[in-house]
Symmetry: C2
Subunit: 706 residues, 2 copies
């Protein structure tokens, strides 16, 4: 790719970004779009309706940038929980890393790369220069200038490791502080007991009761259990809101909610509910006598719950399995009663499914690669030659299309991974999301980074991973060549996608538009979404991987990344404050994923550096780089020991202190009362639709007819 | 190697074994050798001195075989603890596996191999036939007979997995039963607390006291700690026995203790002790004021101790580190007070040291390989040609010498690994031994199996491990060729070494003979040795690896292995009952090592099978073997989840039941009193050598002058 093609791509994307920005400013304060752009404020009743439209309002609505920027971290913490803060720390961390990398890369490495003569590019007009002339490929073989790159790799690794250590330490201490300041939550007091062994002449609930009252007689006071059947097929939660937002009760059914006749939502649902009430009653009656071998057991103190969940209970390690219970709204019921064998088997099956999905995905990746190599495409589809020879077409195709198509396929991956994780046997939505996050991350690294890099020239190279010795050399040949593709990827997938899908929520807007016009009904309820960590964190981490690996290869990528991190910082802050409501609270458990991914990126950079210095005929630098990945791994092993235990549970000191603090709290007794009914299988809740009118957004179930 | 060479080797070894057997029978009941052959009986006072020598006694002394065979497993358990039982289960397991393998291998596979014509060996006299004609190499390429081997691999894997599951289950239940039946031990009630943070104005012992009395106020009654300095340089324990065995007080100083003047041992030591008493006092006074940031904290119940050791205590995961304390006699003091950083650093350093040792060891292995390839040796050292051409010399050299030399070098490895493990930061001797056991095992597999197999034809092949794709093919070429070497190895290292070093304890006999004659003093004290698990378990497991991998390649090895396991079963039982006293009790924690090693052996067999079937031009069988290692790994992952937790600690159910049982035990109060003084740093015990005369074998310390 030449510089002008890159500029074309940047131009298109900047234009799109501006367009989306204006669209957002226009739509943001329109009441019909409040559900899209500030659903959280609406749900919290902080939104005032002002339907009239004026230019002054449009200008003033740009203020959201300031409002997103202003709140301090503590305000964000109070507003959206620790997970949101950790999420934003990824941006802060990225900004810190790439600020340093950008200064070193652009001010020191880039000039040295450009001064090299390896590629013998003798035309002098800058716009037509290949982007390769800014990369390490342009430095002369055996040149002493490569020692500057060598030093940069070492210094950069040291800086990143320092920042990683600092962040891990900071977040670990935040986690403890947040625990101390949080209100009592049912999950902290409760343990999930699974695989209760069957005893003849005793129901499971009796077994649980006798086991825990026998072995934990004194410290536990309200041992509450709920044992129920969770696998009610086709169960579905419908949130019905009423009264609170009367303006929402009637909605226009026409184009984008702007025109058309008003529909009374309550009438609409009332009819639906009458239909299904009977079905649910029938289905529930058929299972109400059954019991499952699992239970939630609540304790009077957090420390007791921690003890029970840490110590193996039964003699057989597959019976009386205990684990900390998730909070009630975080429970994923289908695996509540699954047996040890079933969960183990599901786990194994999901591993194979993941491998299968990853292999299957190579097909679209290869198609995309065909586009960046226009000559190949011309050879395959000769009739396109006429069009492809037009300069603007070829620039758009090579600069913009590949990453757009890749992005479309990639957007299918997070839902697939969520499905896979959800059948893996986790009991909590947060665990599912974290597991899916890790899956999506490795999927992205493999299918976007490696498949692009290695299939760029020849597909058979993928089997290089069966010959580890040749990996550094091969990566060194292939990775720098893909720099231009990844710069375009940052611009398309980073900039524009953040604006379009995150800020404007284009996909959702599009769907609701389709529904509104085609079906003449509007089904969307005010469902405050939660931040999809499993799709967002891998994306951000992938950009950080690109930045770290290309830091010394092609520093030109760094300014684009810095822009991405700045945009992301503002936009995601805005979304966290206005759109997303936390669905669960893991207490920062996503950070270890970020840490591990960054360590992996560093090691990948080192491996490429070893290969590059070898290729560039500076074997001494190549050998001297070998200790670097080893040192990084040692650093990582230290961090794992030093910080990771803090993210697995809370220490006894904190638990006991917090328990004592609670005892002096007058509200604790009412909390205990709530605890008694906190864990109810939604399938077992009473079904009377008339209740739904009284309480806002109470979960209500209906059994699908199938 | 041809059959007659193998028979020569077997002949030499059988002769040696018979010789050692007679030697043992002669020496066993001689009082001068009682310390060697029945030290445990001597220490327990069960040995009656009968000095006269007669032929009838010699014959009756063969009865030890029966006496070793007779005791039931429960008697062995009562006598030597669970670790000894688990150790003997390795033999039982091996006998079961190789009984099945032997029947299949000798009756089915061997005839098919011999009927093949691949090697075109047309001479008919059996003694001169190459051993290869009994191996899979002799089966014709593409022959359908290979499907019999294929079926054998599948069935054998299934049988081994079934036996593994059965044993794991059996030992896990034994472990719980042993826990229930055991007397209270201090380690069960005690927790080791390390990295106590320094608080200004408070000593470490005050910190520990206030921390535990603050957070565990009720359930803990006698919180006893001992905080002391352990790193007294050159500290040495001397066991002085007296009175109890007056016949041992005087000992002949001459040849093998049979001739020479009698020496009064007490006089001898009295003088020594007077010298050192002053030194110790001086050194101890200098450190007695210091405190170290570590302590043993004892609790009133096992469950409390388990809670404290399972739950992270302090906010910083590197402070207030708790772990179950080893029993007092099992404590390895040098790392008692080591900081988190120091132990972590030592750990990393030991990993590198292990890699270094492993690489360094390739040199002797290569030398040994030179001997099995006589033609190479002739080429290197032409002047030896005359001697080497003698048939008997060449047979001895190829059949017996290589494994003997290898064995000598290998005997250096366990002590080296013990040293490495001991600086790794473990607090218990049992942990050190287990860690060394794993190290020696992998060292043996790598340096005996892989280095022999791969360097057999060419050294550069070792780097095949950087190209995983070629591993099956390369192993398939190399492994069958080394069958004869490993058969000889089983005979030499298995049969003869078990007799010589284990039964006759030749090395120790030799050293004491050297000392007795050269220095005119006899220093050996009645020190009842403990079973060196770290050197014995890897040896046995290595034989099982050989049996499993060669099962379908060269079934001729199986009868030799069966003989080894039978011999080993009798001899080790005899040693456990008469020689070794348990130094510690891990409760069967060595079994997971055995399990993992067997799984590894199976996978190795599968990889070789994949390669062999490919080489033999039955690609379908090769492809159909691929699921086998995957299934084995899945089986292993199930076993890890199903059984491994039982070996990491005891479940709450057992701990609480056992605690309750103790409360009704009248001896428990005296046990609590003992607990108060159980953990004393030996460096801090009072030093008065006069005490030593009163109590038998009390540890006494003296500081070396250096």
């Amino acid at each position: 790719m030449i510089l002008s093609a890159l500029l074309t791509s940047v131009g298109i994307n900047v234009a799109l970004c501006v367009l989306f920005f204006i669209l957002y400013c226009v739509l943001r304060n329109r009441p019909s779009y409040a559900d899209f752009y500030i659903p959280r404020l609406v749900a919290e009743g902080k939104f005032r309706e002002e339907d009239e439209f004026s230019m002054g309002k449009l200008l003033s609505s740009v203020k959201w940038v300031k409002r997103a920027w202003q709140p301090s971290e503590d305000e964000l913490l109070a507003n959206s929980g620790l997970d949101a803060v950790v999420f934003m720390r990824i941006f802060t961390f990225g900004l810190r890393v790439f600020r340093f990398a950008g200064i070193v890369g652009i001010c020191i490495l880039l000039p040295f790369n450009y001064m090299g003569n390896q590629l013998n590019i003798d035309f002098t007009d800058l716009p037509n220069k290949s982007l390769e002339s800014f990369s390490i490929s342009n430095v002369d073989d055996g040149s002493n200038r490569l020692w500057i790159h060598f030093a940069a790799v070492y210094i950069f690794t040291a800086v990143v490791c320092y920042l990683l250590y600092y962040e891990y330490d900071y977040i670990a201490s935040k986690r403890i502080a947040y625990f101390y300041s949080s209100k009592p939550r049912p999950g902290q007091f409760t343990v999930l007991v699974r695989n209760v062994p069957a005893t003849s002449g005793r129901s499971f609930s009796e077994s649980v009761e006798s086991f825990f009252s026998e072995y934990y007689p004194l410290p536990i006071f309200p041992t509450l259990w709920f044992v129920g059947q969770a696998n009610l097929k086709g169960s579905l939660l419908v949130h019905v809101k009423s009264k609170k937002h009367p303006q929402q009760r009637f909605k226009r059914a026409g184009f984008m909610g702007l025109f058309g006749r008003k529909v009374d939502l309550l009438d609409h649902y009332e009819k639906k509910l009458e239909d299904v009430e009977g079905n649910v009653r029938t289905e529930r009656d058929s299972i109400s006598g059954k019991e499952v071998p699992a239970a939630f057991v609540s304790f009077k103190s957090r420390f007791s719950a921690a003890i029970v969940s840490h110590v193996q209970q039964g003699v057989k390690p597959t019976e009386w399995l205990t684990e900390p219970a998730p909070d009630p709204q975080d429970v994923y019921w289908p695996f509540f009663s699954a047996s040890f064998i079933k969960r183990w088997f599901c786990n194994i099956a999901v591993i194979f499914a993941c491998i299968f999905v990853t292999v299957l995905f190579l097909v679209p990746v290869l198609l995309v690669q065909g586009l960046t190599h226009l000559d190949q495409l011309e050879a395959w589809l000769p009739f396109l030659r006429g069009i492809l020879n037009l300069k603007i077409v070829s620039q758009v195709i090579t600069g913009y299309f590949p990453s757009l198509i890749l992005e479309m396929f990639l957007s299918l991956v997070p839902p697939v991974m969520i499905v896979l994780s959800s059948i893996q046997g986790y009991i909590a939505l947060s665990q599912i999301e974290k597991s899916a996050c890790i899956k999506v991350l490795w999927f992205t690294i493999w299918n976007v980074f490696f498949a692009n890099v290695l299939s760029g020239s020849a597909l058979y190279r993928v089997d290089v991973f069966l010959e580890p010795k040749r990996i550094p050399e091969l990566l060194a040949v292939a990775v720098p060549g893909q720099a231009s593709f990844f710069i375009a990827y940052v611009v398309t997938s980073g900039w524009t996608k953040t604006f379009s899908s995150e800020l404007v929520r284009l996909k959702r807007l599009f769907w609701s538009f389709l529904k509104g016009t085609l079906c003449w009904k509007s089904d969307e309820e005010l469902e405050v979404p939660s931040n999809p960590y499993h799709s967002e964190i891998p994306r951000i981490l992938f950009f950080s991987l690109l930045g770290i690996t290309y830091f010394f290869l092609a520093p030109l990528i760094l300014p684009f990344l810095l822009v991405y991190y700045c945009l992301g910082y503002v936009i995601y802050r805005n979304q966290l404050l206005n759109v997303y409501a936390p669905k669960f609270e893991t207490g920062g458990k996503f950070w270890p994923v970020v840490h591990d991914a960054t360590i992996f990126s560093l090691i990948l950079m080192h491996v490429i550096a070893i290969g590059i210095f070898g290729l560039k005929k500076v074997p001494l630098a190549s050998s001297l780089t070998i200790p670097l990945p080893i040192l990084t791994l040692i650093f990582n092993s230290y961090c794992r020991r030093r910080f990771l235990p803090s993210f697995k549970g809370y220490p006894a000191e904190c638990l006991i202190n917090k328990d004592r603090f609670d005892q002096s709290d007058p509200t604790i007794s009412s909390f205990y009362d709530e605890l008694a009914t906190a864990y109810r299988d939604p399938a077992m809740k009473s079904v009377r639709y008339s209740e739904a009118r009284e309480s806002s957004s109470s979960p209500l179930l209906y059994g699908a007819d199938k």
